[in-house]
Symmetry: D3
Subunit: 172 residues, 6 copies
């Protein structure tokens, strides 16, 4: 039995993430999706709460054969203990998937196997693109799984990201 670990902010969970999960699913039996910066929400960069992101991931993967775990991981803001923090919050895993250089370096120093792939880069690009379209009223729905659209609409997510993205700031 092999269990993988895939960390992301998932703001929101989109088709790029979904493709990565499909790719990984060929290599592992179970996959932990670590929801990074779990305590952040209500900003343009991090609009959705951890709870909303759990729903996006779980609903998008409900028909997948892969056994998955969606685990929120709050920031500790200290790189030197980050791997230990992740390991304590997550079901034990055998291999980590990431193209993030810091994540790769931290896991490598801790002796954890890391696998990379050029296609993993898609998710950062797409995350920004999805949020830009949300703010500007573009067609973001086609960039995310259908279940994600539902979660965002139920939570009033579009109004939220549009409002918090306004640059005016009245004294706070």
């Amino acid at each position: 039995m092999t269990r993988g670990f895939y960390i992301g902010r998932f703001q929101p969970y989109h088709n790029g993430h979904h493709s990565v999960v499909e790719t990984i699913s060929e290599e592992v039996d179970e996959l932990v999706l670590g929801i990074g910066s779990a305590g952040n929400s209500h900003t343009r960069h991090d609009p959705f709460t951890a709870g909303e992101r759990i729903m996006m991931i779980t609903k998008s993967l409900v028909d997948s054969d892969l056994v998955t775990y969606a685990v929120p991981i709050e920031d500790l803001d200290r790189n030197s203990v980050w791997v230990s923090h992740v390991q304590s919050m997550s079901p034990e895993f055998d291999v980590a998937y990431s193209n993030n250089p810091l994540v790769i370096q931290l896991f490598t120093e801790a002796g954890v196997e890391v696998r990379q792939s050029p296609m993993f880069n898609r998710d950062v690009l797409e995350g920004t693109e999805v949020r830009d379209r949300m703010v500007e009223g573009g067609d973001w729905e086609k960039l995310v799984p259908e279940a994600v659209t539902e979660v965002i609409e139920e939570s009033g997510g579009i109004e939220r990201i549009q409002r918090v993205s306004q640059t005016d700031s009245n004294g706070v």
Copy 2:
């Protein structure tokens, strides 16, 4: 669709918790199990990590018809914001289940419906009993679902709780 929320420390997840989940399953379609004090581990009172507790819950409920979410919730140590914290970390829920007076008071002040039941008391009693048996070498296995036994054995949990329960303290 009704979603419930059931908070506990689940140190470990035992038959008392399991019975509560079965009872709740008759009233809701989905259930979030909030794993409280998620950052605590390696003490007699809180021996297991959040990751280990996610495994206990998920494996114990794998054959249940109920849709469940195991969500670690780190302490914020501030009662006045606890409900907001829980709500941001958890998938949205309609009703909370608890017999804990503080939890009931906090949810009630925040306008969240809380349901209680005498049988919910079983889990505190049993949590202490299970940990006592682990420390003293008693028969703890019969108090927990079979899947929990496996998780604890794989993590070396018995040796851990026995060692950290020793009262000697050498200067830290």
Copy 3:
């Protein structure tokens, strides 16, 4: 112009505190009432929020000739920086009033004048007595200024302290 500083938890603000303020008012022109452990609430030891305690103090002193400031002070949990923390949160003051040995020691090491008086001891004793009566349904109203009774009743404070004081704990 002399400004004094008087620190307390004010859980709740009671007649003992009120007498201390009257005594101090003969020595200073203005008085800062520092509300300690401002982030704590909803426990038997600390039932009321900082906002509720601000109301108790302000309403009780509304007819006083003394210029007063009610300033919530959150815990930093580090004795060595406590005086600096208090000084940054409070209007500048010339003298501190306390009978608490730790507070006296910290201010003294920092070169701040501290004044003590046997009567200051009343407030701790009365704080516990007031809370005990609240929990047990006794006559607590006669131990506090009338304005405090109103604040507590409006906030449902008696039900709150009675509920959180129950010793049963259901898994959190």
Copy 4:
């Protein structure tokens, strides 16, 4: 009786804030001025301590008929619990005044009434202008109430902001 809540950093409290308070005073009986980022000080963006800001506000409003409360609010750095945090630190309020989109969004999601007005925008513009003039030796005094000038001069605030605004950084 209606109580309003007006949040700002008040770095420093200036004529723009003062006009907002006057406008609000026609709608409410009491007003809480929440001093945001209360723990910040000694930077160009946040030069003054919470204690100094309490003094600015209190002294500027001493002759006002409005009942006011100046309440320091430390940052929790977590948007999802910000409203609960504010509500626990502040006397209970009926309506919040803000033009800040994030603040509006957070209060709105929590079900708190928010009122906006174009003129509220003045305070951010003026806050930056006042600090720029302080740093560059310009005429900042005419942008703030007279009481604020006194507080800043007593605290050596001009020398402070000028020094911490220097861009050289020697290794910290």
Copy 5:
């Protein structure tokens, strides 16, 4: 070259600690003394600051042939990341010395070699004894190295521990 790590609170550094260091010095070339709970001070259990404890250790070991490092380690209050925290704060080490069951368990789970010895128990017993004598006016000087006596006297440490040990608490 072998470097050891010896963790303690060193409140204060006493003859028991000194003997342990002498014993360890036969096995290693260099020794890191990790000063635990570095942020704590001004309580009966933790009277001295990290700076004072650095002085005690450094002055006591000035004539030792062993190369030593006195490194303050602030609490993170999370057992699962404690080893990573210690490793990031300390010069790299090959072996840890402790009789504390929790420390042994944490280092063992992290794959760090731990060495124990019955004599290590002396330090806890003596730490309490030294502090008791300080509070009660007994002969504590003979339980600590001469250099420690000097550090404590210069810092007014006896008056401090005596005052903060008084049980009266006036409202904070």
Copy 6:
């Protein structure tokens, strides 16, 4: 006996720092080197852990006649208590050395003597230059003491800073 305090991030300790220490050594008997932002590591701006920086300083100064202390100081992120924090973590000192305007302002407000010198500016310039060369494969070794080169090579520091400096970010 005079003891000085010299604060820096020492990322890494380089020849500019070394010259400053030599200059200071003519004025004091002992010198504390406060290692700022001790909890930061694994970024381009802060690549090395506190433990690695302790080693750089200690090994570089092993032959110096000056008595030195290398003391890691974690950030508290609150300027108003920074001096108290530093004073509690460090052996007591008589004079602080800095050209950092914020540090000068904070020590001055707290009544601590600060000494400046134009040459102190070298260290910031050189810190950035050293890290740039590390990232770009330039000749950084000639900008640091020989002992520092050894520490960095043993810790794999060059590979670390090169990897974490890559701008690609895959979703964390």
